[in-house]
């Protein structure tokens, strides 16, 4: 070994040290979420003294997917705090990690509940729940109805998507525009619910307009599957193409790819000299209204956090039982974001140090102003649809197979361009 080698080693050490120094300047060190300040990252002695742990197994997207992984973390960390439990997070690198991850959690013996995040874990949970009949599992988006130790938490995203579909179409109508769009990630069955629900909401809005104003309006619904949940550039390009064809409201269900949709919409608005839409984007899963305030009409909130929290609560309180916990509008698992939701999300962000208080107030003011520009009758109409869904007067279709989707696309006239 020569001196050059040591020099090289030294260079590496210095780079790592500088990087680490920069990254960890902050005090207190290490918070891994926007949402929680108090959940300890590491297994501290105080934690081991706790009654047990909530295990969260993330799927391959991992935290930062702006979707169920992030929301599951939110719910789990809140539950851990509320019930005095520890939180153990396990990231999956590939699908093959699901079973070993679940097993490792189950074998630990201190799992109050093990939460499997994502429908891809269905088979794995089926298997491991059988191997460990005494361990309680919850699976998000997966359907396992027949195990006493598995709670399946399902969401009726189609309902919420219908609401934002109606909101999109009515807003478009208000701005004299007849094209709306939806940008999706990879074509996986869960996303069909978003796509079809959205289209259903748009067509509902047409009927509503006819009824209220006596006008025949026909909306074009453009949809694009970008094929990716992690490339914002794809979302941006897809949205730009839609905007160029006259689309003025775009719903996204594409994880991090959707960030590009927001960017495209906000950019187009600013180019037109506006500080607020149109055009508008619609967020998904979490309350995303803060990402581009003024340009995000609302978000279709899928409260995975509520699901996880509920499952943990039931496990702690001893009321846990296997079966399906289906959360829709009625159960409060699905909703369209409100200003209150926004304030709540920002509050969490402020506590985590990720959002400055002054910024938060600005964001709320902007969103408030934007919402006030949308006429009340639109909000009321969306509310009416919501009520109808709750009462069962309106049934939003729920596609579960390819054939159904193809059929529904035809019926609802998705993707036709005038």
């Amino acid at each position: 070994m020569d001196s050059k080698l040591w020099l090289a080693v030294a260079v590496v050490v210095i780079i790592v040290a500088i990087g680490a120094f920069l990254a960890f300047q902050q005090t207190p060190p290490l918070q891994t979420s926007t949402q929680q300040t108090t959940t300890p990252q590491t297994a501290t002695p105080t934690q081991t003294a706790k009654k047990g742990n909530i295990y969260v197994i993330y799927d391959i997207g991992g935290k930062g997917d702006l979707s169920f992984n992030d929301m599951a973390y939110l719910g789990a960390s809140r539950a851990a705090k509320d019930f005095g439990l520890g939180l153990k997070e396990i990231q999956s690198k590939t699908q093959d990690d699901y079973v070993p991850n679940l097993r490792a959690a189950a074998k630990s013996g201190d799992a109050v509940i093990t939460v499997a995040v994502g429908f891809l874990m269905t088979d794995a949970v089926k298997q491991v729940s059988q191997e460990f009949p005494n361990v309680k599992f919850a699976i998000i988006d997966g359907y396992i109805p027949d195990r006493p130790n598995v709670m399946s938490v399902l969401f009726r995203e189609n309902e919420g998507s219908a609401l934002v579909g109606a909101l999109a179409a009515l807003t478009a109508y208000y701005y004299n525009c007849t094209k709306v769009g939806i940008v999706l990630g990879m074509e996986i069955p869960v996303l069909w619910k978003f796509e079809i629900g959205y289209a259903y909401g748009v067509r509902w809005a047409e009927r509503f307009i006819k009824q209220k104003f006596g006008k025949d309006v026909k909306f074009d619904i453009l949809y694009v599957y970008t094929g990716s949940f992690n490339d914002p550039a794809k979302g941006k390009q897809a949205a730009e193409v839609m905007l160029a064809q006259g689309v003025c409201v775009i719903y996204q269900a594409a994880g991090a790819t959707g960030l590009g949709v927001f960017e495209a919409v906000a950019e187009a608005g600013k180019k037109a000299g506006r500080t607020m839409g149109p055009p508008f984007a619609i967020g998904v899963d979490a309350d995303q209204d803060y990402i581009k305030p003024g340009f995000i009409l609302a978000s279709m909130m899928k409260r995975v956090d509520v699901g996880v929290y509920t499952a943990a609560k039931m496990a702690v309180e001893g009321s846990f039982k296997g079966g399906v916990l289906e959360l829709g509008i009625k159960e409060g698992g699905i909703s369209v974001s409100t200003l209150d939701d926004l304030a709540q999300f920002l509050e969490i962000g402020i506590r985590a140090g990720a959002v400055k208080e002054s910024d938060a107030q600005n964001i709320i003011n902007t969103v408030k102003e934007m919402r006030s520009k949308i006429p009340t009758w639109i909000w009321e109409a969306v509310d009416k649809l919501k009520q109808d869904i709750v009462t069962g007067a309106e049934k939003v279709p729920l596609p579960t197979s390819q054939d159904q989707v193809v059929q529904l696309r035809k019926e609802l006239g998705l993707g036709t361009v005038g």
């Binding site: 090289a8 590491t42 297994a43 074509e187 579960t400």
Partner: protein, 335 residues
């Protein structure tokens, strides 16, 4: 012999330094390096379930690593294992779609390997006929395979009752765990056996010899009747064989799903992990085997590190990167 000693010393030193630097990074970030390493490296060995899980991870990585290693022998930088693995998995899914009994298994192997070999033939032939650099050829083919397989799994091969994945292997045709409650299936011994066969092929077979000659000096090969084009084809073909097998086994011999996920989550990235294994193993089949077991232990260890030490998963990648960086340094040249 001296070369082997250098290799071992270099690898050992690289391992040592990577772990030391990794420890420093953990320590700065406020994690416990000792506990992290203990849970990462020892916990997988402490329990048969964990150990078998680690071995199960090593199998596909070994197979794709062999693809790259055989390519290196022929002087090729064949990074097509990724796409060929997809195609192998697609072949298995096609077999499951076509027959619903035990015959699906041999058919899966046949179709999977055939698809993979056909897929690798495209960049191979483009290289031979049109001089298309194999790096470009295989990168592009990987992406095309990605979308093609996703499309196939989303349409004809979709599972009507579980649309997020393909049709499942028929129960009779599945290679189920050899030890109940673990992930150890026949895939593991099969992969290890393949490594031995590849070793024998490269060391003893006429074609293995020809590949080496062509890889080291194509001019010499040509002058003495070895056609480097054929060597390229054979190297690509053998590589596709192992990569395709990896894909087939991921579908036919990997509990619990025995299917191909719509987002390819159970085959995605295996090809690239294989490159890592091949580099760690210095392109030698036995080295690749050892490297894949090591990587399997790391992958298994990653979850225990998260559970026991709370250290984030990403550290595994950082340590792998450092490890390979130190390998590149070739620190020991003279003793």
């Amino acid at each position: 012999m001296r070369r082997l000693t250098f290799s071992l010393l270099n690898t050992g030193l690289a391992l040592f330094l990577a772990f030391v630097l990794g420890a420093i990074a953990m320590w700065i970030s406020g994690y416990d390096p000792l506990l992290s390493y203990k849970s990462m490296l020892l916990t997988p060995l402490s329990d048969l379930t964990y150990l078998f899980s680690a071995l199960a991870f090593s199998a596909p990585i070994l197979l794709t690593g062999l693809t790259f290693a055989v390519g290196l022998k022929a002087g090729l930088f064949n990074i097509g294992a990724e796409g060929q693995t997809y195609m192998g998995a697609l072949g298995a899914v096609a077999a499951a779609y076509l027959t619903r009994d035990v015959s699906a298994l041999p058919l899966a192997v046949f179709l999977g390997v055939a698809f993979a070999v056909a897929w690798s033939a495209i960049p191979a032939l483009l290289k031979i006929w049109r001089g298309v650099n194999e790096v470009v050829g295989t990168i592009m083919m990987n992406w095309v395979a990605y979308w093609l397989v996703i499309m196939a799994v989303s349409t004809i091969f979709a599972n009507p009752s579980q649309p997020e994945e393909s049709v499942k292997m028929p129960e009779a045709a599945r290679l189920t765990p050899l030890v109940a409650g673990t992930d150890l299936t026949l895939a593991v011994p099969l992969a290890y056996l393949t490594a031995v066969l590849i070793y024998v092929f490269l060391r003893y077979s006429v074609w293995g010899y020809r590949i080496s000659i062509s890889g080291q000096n194509p001019t010499v090969a040509k002058a003495y009747g070895i056609r480097p084009e054929q060597a390229v084809l054979v190297a690509f073909g053998i590589g596709a064989l192992t990569a395709g097998l990896a894909g087939v086994l991921q579908v036919a011999a990997r509990p619990p799903s025995y299917s191909l996920a719509r987002n390819l989550a159970n085959v995605y990235g295996l090809g690239f992990d294989g490159i890592t294994a091949a580099m760690l193993g210095r392109g030698h089949p036995i080295g690749v085997f050892l490297a894949s077991v090591f990587l399997g232990i790391l992958q298994e260890g990653a979850r225990h590190m998260q559970i026991e030490a709370g250290t984030p998963f990403e550290f595994i990648r950082v340590i792998q990167g450092l490890l390979i960086l130190f390998l590149a340094l070739q620190m020991v040249r003279k003793i």
